[in-house]
C-alpha cells in the first residue's frame, strides 16, 4: 500500500480555486483516511481548510501539488483531482 503520494494538478476556470470549489473539496475529503495537503511555491496548506486553501490564491492556470499520506492516500489524491477538474466555474 502506498503511504505518501504527490501529484501535480492545473487549476482551471476563470475564478480559479475559489470559495465554492474549496468548499466542495473540504466536503469531499471528509471521512477519507489520509492527511491531504496542497502546495504552491513550496507553501503547503491543509486541503480540508477552505481558509488556508484560499490563501494559496490559486487563480486559473496555477499548477498545484497535491500530497497525501496515510491509509487512503490514493483515494484522497483522486478525490482532489476529481473535484478540481470538475470545477471549471
Amino acid at each position: 500500500m502506498e503511504s505518501k503520494i504527490e501529484e501535480e494538478i492545473e487549476i482551471r476556470g476563470p475564478l480559479g480555486l475559489h470559495a465554492r470549489p474549496a468548499a466542495k473539496l473540504a466536503k469531499a475529503l471528509a471521512g477519507i483516511k489520509a492527511e491531504v495537503r496542497l502546495g504552491k511555491d513550496e507553501r503547503w496548506v491543509d486541503a480540508r481548510s477552505i481558509l488556508d486553501v484560499l490563501t494559496l490564491a490559486a487563480s486559473g492556470g496555477t499548477k498545484l501539488k497535491v500530497q497525501a499520506e496515510g491509509e487512503e492516500a490514493r483515494k484522497a489524491v483522486e478525490t482532489v483531482k476529481g473535484v478540481l477538474e470538475a470545477a471549471s466555474v
Binding site: G16, A19, R20, A26, D46, D52, T55, A57, S59
Partner: protein, 581 residues
C-alpha cells in the same frame, strides 16, 4: 423629499420604512482564563461555532431549491465557520489562557494580514466572508442571539452586505436592498437578483441621509432612491410595482414569441451582458443571443492582467451556454473613465479623447493578442462575433482586423481550433466613423451603434458633468441623422446593423428604431419582454413614416412631440394593458 441615485442592480420597486444595519462593529475584550477553566472555554467556542453553522444551515433550508447559486455561497460560508484551521488555531490560543472571543479575534487578525497580501482581488475579498462569519460566532459568544430585530417589512440600508447577511434578512420581510458600497458584480447584487428582491448599490450618501424608520421609495431598475417621497411619487411607484409584477408574470408567456411587427418586419432582440452569472436571466427573458458582452470586468477587478486561459474559460462558458445563439464580444474598452489596475496608464487631461479602447489595444499589442487569442479559441465552441470599440476610421479598423488575421495564423500553426469565418464588426460611436460608414461597410461584417458614446462625442456633452448633462439629448436631430446614415451605409453593402446602447431599451424610442430599419437591438435582459410585446403592436410602415417626418424637424422637443403625437396614445394604452391584463 430628497432624491439619491445609485446603480440599479436588481429590478423591481419598493416603498417602505428604512432599516439601517451597521455590521462590523464588534468589541472584544481580553480576559485571562484559569487553567482549570480551559476545557470549558474550548467547549464554549465549539458550541458557538456549531450554533452559527446551524443557523446558516437553517437559512439554507428555508430557501427555495432552485436558487443553486445562493445555496452554494451559503454552503461555502457554513464550511468557513467550521474550518478546521480556524478552530484549531483558536483552541491553541485558549490553551494559552485567552478567552474564546479574544482567541477568535486574534485568529481573524492573522487571516486579515494573510489575505491582504494576496495578489488577486477575488481572493483578497474573501476575507470579508471570513470576517462576517467570525463576527457571528463572537456575537453568539457574547450572548447575542441573532434574528431580525424587526418584524415589519423594511428596506435594508447598509454599507455593504455579506451573502449570508443578504439572505439572513428573511426575503419575505425584505422589500429592497440599498447599499452605500458595492458594484454590479458584488455578491449582494447577484444574490438579490436570484431572490428577486430589488437592489440599488453604490448609492453614495444613503447612510448619512436616511434615518431608521424613514419612508423610502427604491427603484432597482433605474437606481433611484426617494427619501420621504411625496404622495405623487408613492402613487407613481405603486404603478411601477404593478407594471413590474405584470411583466414578470407575462415573461414566460412571451419568451418564445418573435419580435415582429404586425406587418412582418422581424427584429432580433439581444441582451447586454456584464457577467457570466447573468446568463440564466438572459435565457429567461428570451434574448436571442448577446449583442454586447462587456469584458472589462475581468480586467478591472484584479491587480494583475487576466491570463489567456482565464479569458478563454470565461468566454467559452458564455458561448457554450448561449448556443445556438451568437455572442458578440467587444474587445477591451478601457481607459477614459475606467481603470485597469494591471495596466500602467499615463494620467490624461482629457481621457474621453485619449488613449482608450482600440487605440490602447493597438498600442499595447500583447494586451490585445491575449484577448483576441482567447476570443478566437472560444469561437470553436459556438457562434462568436467580435467587435472593436471606438473605431474612428477605415485604417484603424483594418489594422485591428489584420492583427486578428495574424493571430488566426498563429493559432492555426499551434493547432488550436477556432472559427475561421468569425464575424468582425465595427462599433459605431465616433462621429467620424459615421462620416465614412460607406467605406467601413465594405470592410466590416456588421455595425453596432453604441449610442452612449455616439451622443457624447457628437454633442460634445459629458453626461457625468452635472453642469451640462441636460444637453445630453438622444433625440437630437444630429443623432437621428447619424443613426439613419449608419443603417443605410450598412444595408447598401448588405451587412446587418444593430444598436447596443441604452437607447435600445427605452419604449419611447422603439418606433423610431424600428423605422430606422435597425436589424438588432441589444439591451439589459429585463427590458426585452416589454420591448418585444411593444414591437408586436407596431406597424413597420407607420414607423417608417414617422422617421421620414422627424428627419425634417429642428430640435429634440419637436421630435419628442412628433413621436408622442403618433405613438403616445398607443404607448400609454400599451403600458396600461400590460399591467391590467
Amino acid at each position: 423629499m430628497k432624491i439619491l441615485r445609485g446603480l440599479g442592480v436588481s429590478a423591481g420597486v419598493a416603498v417602505g420604512p428604512a432599516q439601517l444595519i451597521f455590521p462590523g462593529h464588534i468589541k472584544v475584550s481580553r480576559t485571562q482564563i484559569p487553567p482549570s477553566e480551559i476545557p470549558k472555554e474550548i467547549k464554549r467556542l465549539e458550541e458557538a461555532i456549531e450554533a452559527t453553522a446551524q443557523e446558516i444551515q437553517r437559512l439554507k433550508a428555508q430557501l427555495p431549491e432552485n436558487l443553486g447559486e445562493v445555496h452554494a455561497i451559503l454552503e461555502a460560508q457554513r464550511l468557513i465557520v467550521k474550518d478546521p484551521s480556524l478552530s484549531s488555531e483558536a483552541e491553541a490560543l485558549i490553551r494559552k489562557g485567552f478567552n474564546a472571543e479574544w482567541a477568535l479575534f486574534k485568529v481573524l487578525d492573522r487571516y486579515r494580514q494573510a489575505f491582504a497580501e494576496l495578489p488577486d482581488e477575488y481572493f483578497r475579498e474573501r476575507y470579508q466572508d471570513l470576517a462576517s462569519m467570525v463576527e457571528k460566532v463572537i456575537f453568539y459568544l457574547q450572548g447575542h442571539r441573532s434574528g431580525n430585530a424587526w418584524e415589519e417589512k423594511s428596506i435594508i440600508v447598509a454599507q455593504d452586505l455579506s451573502p449570508a447577511d443578504t439572505v439572513g434578512l428573511k426575503p419575505d420581510l425584505t422589500l429592497a436592498f440599498v447599499t452605500e458600497g458595492g458594484s454590479r458584480t458584488s455578491h449582494t447584487a447577484i444574490v438579490a437578483r436570484s431572490l428577486g428582491i430589488p437592489a440599488v448599490v453604490a448609492a453614495k450618501g444613503v447612510l448619512k441621509e436616511i434615518s431608521p424608520g424613514d419612508l423610502v421609495a427604491v427603484d432597482g431598475t433605474t437606481g433611484e432612491i426617494f427619501i420621504a417621497p411625496e404622495p405623487e411619487i408613492i402613487a407613481e411607484f405603486s404603478q411601477r410595482a404593478r407594471r413590474f409584477q405584470r411583466l414578470k408574470e407575462r415573461l414566460h408567456q412571451v419568451a418564445h414569441l418573435e419580435a415582429q411587427t404586425k406587418d412582418g418586419r422581424r427584429i432580433t432582440l439581444q441582451a447586454n451582458l456584464d457577467l457570466p452569472e447573468e446568463i440564466p436571466f438572459v435565457r429567461e427573458y428570451g434574448a436571442e443571443g448577446i449583442g454586447l458582452f462587456r469584458t472589462e470586468y475581468l480586467y478591472v477587478s484584479r491587480r494583475e492582467l487576466p491570463s489567456e486561459e482565464l479569458l478563454f474559460e470565461t468566454y467559452r462558458q458564455v458561448v457554450e451556454s448561449l448556443r445556438p445563439y451568437p455572442v458578440t464580444i467587444r474587445t477591451l474598452d478601457i481607459g477614459g473613465d475606467k481603470f485597469a489596475s494591471g495596466l500602467e496608464l499615463p494620467e490624461e487631461i482629457n481621457p474621453a479623447l485619449g488613449l482608450r479602447a482600440i487605440r490602447l489595444c493597438l498600442k499595447q499589442e500583447d494586451l490585445f493578442r491575449t484577448q483576441l487569442r482567447a476570443i478566437l479559441r472560444a469561437s470553436a465552441y459556438g457562434q462568436v462575433k467580435v467587435m472593436f470599440p471606438l473605431i474612428s476610421g477605415v485604417a484603424e479598423f483594418l489594422r485591428a482586423r489584420n492583427f486578428l488575421e495574424r493571430i488566426k495564423e498563429e493559432l492555426a500553426q499551434e493547432g488550436h481550433p477556432f472559427d475561421p469565418e468569425i464575424q468582425v464588426g465595427v462599433m459605431i460611436e465616433v462621429p467620424s466613423a459615421v462620416a465614412v460608414a460607406d467605406l467601413l461597410a465594405k470592410e466590416a461584417d456588421f455595425f453596432s451603434i453604441g449610442t452612449n458614446d455616439l451622443i457624447q462625442y457628437t454633442l460634445a456633452i459629458d453626461r457625468g458633468n452635472e453642469e451640462v448633462s441636460e444637453l445630453y439629448e438622444p433625440l437630437h436631430p444630429a443623432i437621428l441623422r447619424l443613426i439613419k446614415a449608419t443603417v443605410e451605409a450598412g444595408h447598401r453593402e448588405g451587412i446587418p446593423v444593430s444598436m447596443c446602447g441604452e437607447m435600445a431599451g427605452d419604449l419611447l424610442y422603439i418606433p423610431l428604431l424600428v423605422g430606422f430599419e435597425l436589424d438588432e437591438l441589444s439591451m439589459t435582459p429585463q427590458s426585452i419582454p416589454e420591448v418585444k410585446l411593444f414591437i408586436r403592436e407596431l406597424e413597420f410602415r407607420h414607423c417608417r413614416e414617422l422617421v421620414e417626418r422627424v428627419l425634417h424637424l429642428t430640435c429634440q422637443d419637436e421630435v419628442k412631440e412628433a413621436v408622442a403625437a403618433v405613438f403616445g396614445p398607443r404607448l400609454q394604452e400599451f403600458s396600461k394593458r400590460l399591467w391590467s391584463e
